[in-house]
Symmetry: none
Subunit: 214 residues, 4 copies
Amino acid sequence: MVFSLCPRARQRRKDARPGELMTAALEVFAERGFAATRLDEVAKRAGVSKGTIYLYFDSKEALFKAAVESAIIPALEAGEAIAADPAKSPGEALREFVFWWWEKVGSTDIGALPKLLVAEIGNFPELGIWFHENMIQRGKRAVVGIIARGVASGDFRPVEPLGVARIVFAMMFSYVLWRRALGAAMPDLPEPEDYFEQALDLLTHGLKRTPPCA
Amino acid sequence: MVFSLCPRARQRRKDARPGELMTAALEVFAERGFAATRLDEVAKRAGVSKGTIYLYFDSKEALFKAAVESAIIPALEAGEAIAADPAKSPGEALREFVFWWWEKVGSTDIGALPKLLVAEIGNFPELGIWFHENMIQRGKRAVVGIIARGVASGDFRPVEPLGVARIVFAMMFSYVLWRRALGAAMPDLPEPEDYFEQALDLLTHGLKRTPPCA
Amino acid sequence: MVFSLCPRARQRRKDARPGELMTAALEVFAERGFAATRLDEVAKRAGVSKGTIYLYFDSKEALFKAAVESAIIPALEAGEAIAADPAKSPGEALREFVFWWWEKVGSTDIGALPKLLVAEIGNFPELGIWFHENMIQRGKRAVVGIIARGVASGDFRPVEPLGVARIVFAMMFSYVLWRRALGAAMPDLPEPEDYFEQALDLLTHGLKRTPPCA
Amino acid sequence: MVFSLCPRARQRRKDARPGELMTAALEVFAERGFAATRLDEVAKRAGVSKGTIYLYFDSKEALFKAAVESAIIPALEAGEAIAADPAKSPGEALREFVFWWWEKVGSTDIGALPKLLVAEIGNFPELGIWFHENMIQRGKRAVVGIIARGVASGDFRPVEPLGVARIVFAMMFSYVLWRRALGAAMPDLPEPEDYFEQALDLLTHGLKRTPPCA
DNA sequence: CATGAATGAGTTTTCATTCAT
DNA sequence: TATGAATGAAAACTCATTCAT
């Protein structure tokens, strides 16, 4: 058997195609936004011709929505798995949540969604509502659970759990945007481990020096 | 021929036109993104006809850049004024910085820039570099100064000032994006005062309960 | 004043444009059918660029419907005027109706509709219903009135008026189609006056020789 | 490998394919017109895949022409048989011709041709010439023969035979178009027997009441 | 032979840009 | 200056035609 030097012009991969197209599309949409994305470019990245897209999707908008959902669905499923493990201390659980999120969400395909969302929400308002209800709310609930447990156990000060969740999300949301959107322009952006470690430390111990006991 | 009843009106109008156009443009660009923005819509919001735009700007891109700069310049000028007032305690100075930023930047026209930046950086990479160098770096330097002073004075723990600045910016950046982009979809978004107050409190005192002195 | 040798590239004739476009469109649609008509061709015949069409019509289909209606409406109005003049003998009234129809309908722009209708009814069924109700029914009613009057007065045999109307319409419908569609292929097609004269004579007196009175 | 249980089926199928395709094609072409017809639809109606069409026909146009001819050829052959039977009275012969035409032409696949012809003559002028020469002329000659015989025998008034043939064809042509094109929109269209009976009666005896012999 | 996924030329449609008024 | 009708290049979309299986 020999290796084909030139890839076959016409491949036949009906089953794999939609996924390939959605992956390529999500990439370009996240890079350029919906309106600035040319289907030619998506087709090129998926290694097919423009017309092929229309075998699987009715329109550019349909492709956009399918691509977004295809990234969201595994995130949703992953979200189900975030069970606050009661064996862990609340501080440990929070740390695990953040690192789990980065590994399974922020650093994967799904991590392209926040940028896309911010950019396109003005043009696809229903996308924002969907995203908020299904992703943000759900994530916050997980964090709120952890914090509330910590407050109840006396590990944490009597803080407002939702307020803490907002800060945690601000930190994750910002990092993924900075990395995805401003990556090239921000050479001083730290590695995720360092960033999250440092941020969690600050969040945990605060800025203020604890006065020595008298 | 008839006499104009108000001969100065047109003159005044003429001088104000570029500004009016840039304001309207920034609004629409921030809402829809560069590619999805129609000059028809910008013209309509500015109350002029589409052709008029071309009397003042060479192209859609020129208008975009002018609109962005017109929002950035006052922000830059305002930035100059953030002198860390040595009379204030570091904690107080940080709080003042955050609220000043919201009042003078986040809640004004300039607050549209982060969304625009996130959305368009893929299409206008130079915009990202410019923005990072002129806005983010400068802002961070101000915060770093405050934190370093606090650490030196013993008010703060010996934290890494740049790391703190990142958290502070994450909090501001996220809030302005949530408000601008997700506003309609997030009915539970708190008022800025509450959000920043709560976040600063957390940042200052941390989550962890301080154990009572033995 | 001199005559402009080259027509101005950019004319400004907002009020006249829709009509010009619809006229050109009806022409091409009638020639080629809806699907085979290219908007480029319509634009060329109307002396504008392709984009101009979209200033006045939302889509090719909208242009099609507007063009059809614009031809139908004057026909409808003309139809209102067909009052069976009671001063005329029924034979005379029938003759006048047929010639009026040819002059005001068959030989005008409206005469393109039957061909268009036959060709496009499979793709635009609602067009057929509209056409039948508004044009065919109305025309038949006029003829039925004339025939019924003739039967009542004893000028005509006791025929079924609707059956006669069908024959009269068959004759008009066929002629207009033959002339419009097959014109080039049927060099022996008679002039309308001769055709209708001959047809009316046949219809009036029949084929059968009247036996001489005994 | 399995044995085919019915080894001849495929063979028989293969021979029948072109005919099945042409029948399906004529149907769709007559419904939608040439340009609006999708080969996908033709294939579906013929129960094969789109690619199969190209095993038998070089192009859409070739399929169109073949489908048209396949309907025309039996009509031509049938036409040869219309010998004016001298045993019949001219009135009887005319009546037989019309009913023969309906049964063998108008109500069969061939009856789709007039609609197709009217619709596509602008795009296929040669089709019009062919159709006129081979179908219309030939049919008219048959009718002209009958009428001339009737005039010569004194059964008919001394009418112009070609003029009569035109009326007879107008009646047949209109009916087949109305039925095929406007069928759904014209619920009051009479049955062919009634229509032709009534029309022939009118044509034979005329509208005018014959004055009683003095 | 038959299939139907893939292609790409050809159309429709959009909209930044121009320019006669 | 200001207007907005007109333009035409560019992008979305369709579908006859091809070809690997």
